[in-house]
Symmetry: C2
Subunit: 193 residues, 2 copies
DNA sequence: GAACCATACGGACCGTCGGTCCGTTTATGC
DNA sequence: GCATAAACGGACCGACGGTCCGTATGGTTC
C-alpha cells in the first residue's frame, strides 16, 4: 500500500489541538473541567476534528502526554549518563525516578489529566508498560535484588501524578524537598540487604 | 438541641442503598458503568433519596467504603497484635500494609470505585489522611528511620486499588504471591541502614 | 488553471449521566 | 385521629462525550 501522506491542514490542526489542550489543562485547576468542546473552541476547530484525529478524549490526552514525555523516554532508552544504559543500575534507577518526578512536577496538570482519563487507571496504557519494563530491567541488574517486578510497580506508584500533585500542589512542599525525599526513599529500597 | 432521631424508613432506605451499591459494584466490571439511577433502581428507591442521603456520588461511595473498612481501621487503632499498637513498629507497619492489601483484594470493585470517585484522587479524602498519619507515626518509631512522611505516602501508593486490581485482576497474579511480593518490598524499605 | 476527487472540516444532533425540584406520601408525637 | 415535619420519587435540567453527514478544500492530473 502506497501510504498516502496526510493533508497539510490536517497536520496543522493536529498541532493546534495539542497546543490548545496543553494550554487549557495548564490553565484550569482540574482536568475534568476541560471539556472536548472547550479544546475545540480554543484550537479554533470543530469538535468533529478532535474526535477524527484522536478517537476519543483518552486518545487525545495520551497523544499529548506521549509527545511531551518522549524526550525523556528517549534519553532513558539511549541517552547519556546518568539516565541512559551504561550507568550502574542503582544509580540509574534513582536517576530515572528523579527524572519522572521532575517531569510530573513540570507537567503536573497534564499528568493529572492522563491518569484521570485512562479508563480507570494508568495501568494498561502502553507507556506504563514501557516504564515498568525498563525499570524492572534496571532493578534486575542489581546484584542480590529480588522481587524486581513488584518493586518496579511500587516505585513507579511513588511518583504517581496525583500523589505528586497532592504534595506539591495542595501541601506546597517545595520541589527540592520532594526530590530529596524521593531520593531518600529510593535509597532505602535499592540498597537493602 | 433535642437531636431528633431519623425516621425509620430513612434508616431502612439508607441500608438498602448501601447494600444495592455494594452488589452492583461487585457485579459490574467497571465502577463507572454503575450509574446513580442503577443504584436507585436496585435499591427500589427514587433517585432523590440517594442524593438526599449521601449528597452526591462521591459521598455515597465514601460512605460505603468507610462502612466496610471501619473494622480494620478499628483494629489498627486499638486492636490486638499484630495490627494494634503495642506491636514493634517494623512488624506493625508490615502488618498494616498487608491488611490493607488484603482488604483491597477482597473489596476490589469497591476500592476501585472509591479512587475513581474521589474527585481526581484519593488524597484529600479524610480516610486517606488517617491512614497516612497512622502509618507515618509507626514508621517514625523505627530507630534511625528518616523521611517517614514521604515513605508513608509511597508505601500506601504501593497498595493503591488500581495497582492491586491491575496485578490481581488483569494479570492474574495470585493473592499469596502478591502478599509475598509486598512483604519483600516493605522489608526493603523498613530494614534499611 | 480547470476540473475532479479523496480527504478533512464543523457544528447540529443524540443518548446518558449527575444532580435538582417540588408535589405527594408517610412516620411520628400529641 | 390529627397535624406536621420529614422523607419520598421521578420528571426535569444542563453538560458532556461522541456521532453523522452535508460542505469545503487541499492535492493531483491534464
Amino acid at each position: 500500500m502506497p501510504e498516502r501522506r496526510p493533508r497539510a491542514d490536517a497536520v496543522r490542526n493536529r498541532e493546534a489541538v495539542l497546543a490548545a489542550a496543553d494550554r487549557l489543562f495548564a490553565r484550569s485547576d482540574s482536568p475534568e473541567h476541560v471539556s472536548m468542546a472547550d479544546i475545540a473552541a480554543e484550537a479554533g476547530v470543530g469538535k468533529g476534528t478532535l474526535f477524527r484525529g484522536f478517537g476519543d478524549r483518552t486518545g487525545l490526552i495520551q497523544a499529548l502526554y506521549e509527545a511531551r514525555l518522549d524526550p525523556i523516554r528517549r534519553t532513558v532508552a539511549e541517552g547519556p549518563h546518568p539516565l541512559g544504559p551504561g550507568t550502574p543500575p542503582v544509580q540509574r534507577a534513582a536517576a530515572v525516578l528523579d527524572a519522572l518526578l521532575c517531569f510530573k512536577l513540570d507537567h503536573r496538570h497534564l499528568s493529572l489529566a492522563l491518569e484521570e482519563a485512562a479508563t480507570g487507571s494508568p495501568y494498561g496504557a502502553e507507556h506504563y508498560d514501557w516504564w515498568h519494563g525498563t525499570l524492572r530491567g534496571v532493578l534486575a541488574e542489581i546484584p542480590g535484588f529480588d522481587g524486581s517486578d513488584f518493586a518496579a510497580h511500587a516505585l513507579l506508584a511513588a511518583v504517581r501524578a496525583d500523589l505528586v500533585d497532592h504534595l506539591a500542589g495542595r501541601r506546597n512542599i517545595p520541589r527540592e524537598r520532594l526530590r530529596a525525599d524521593l531520593a531518600t526513599y529510593t535509597t532505602k529500597v535499592l540498597n537493602s540487604p
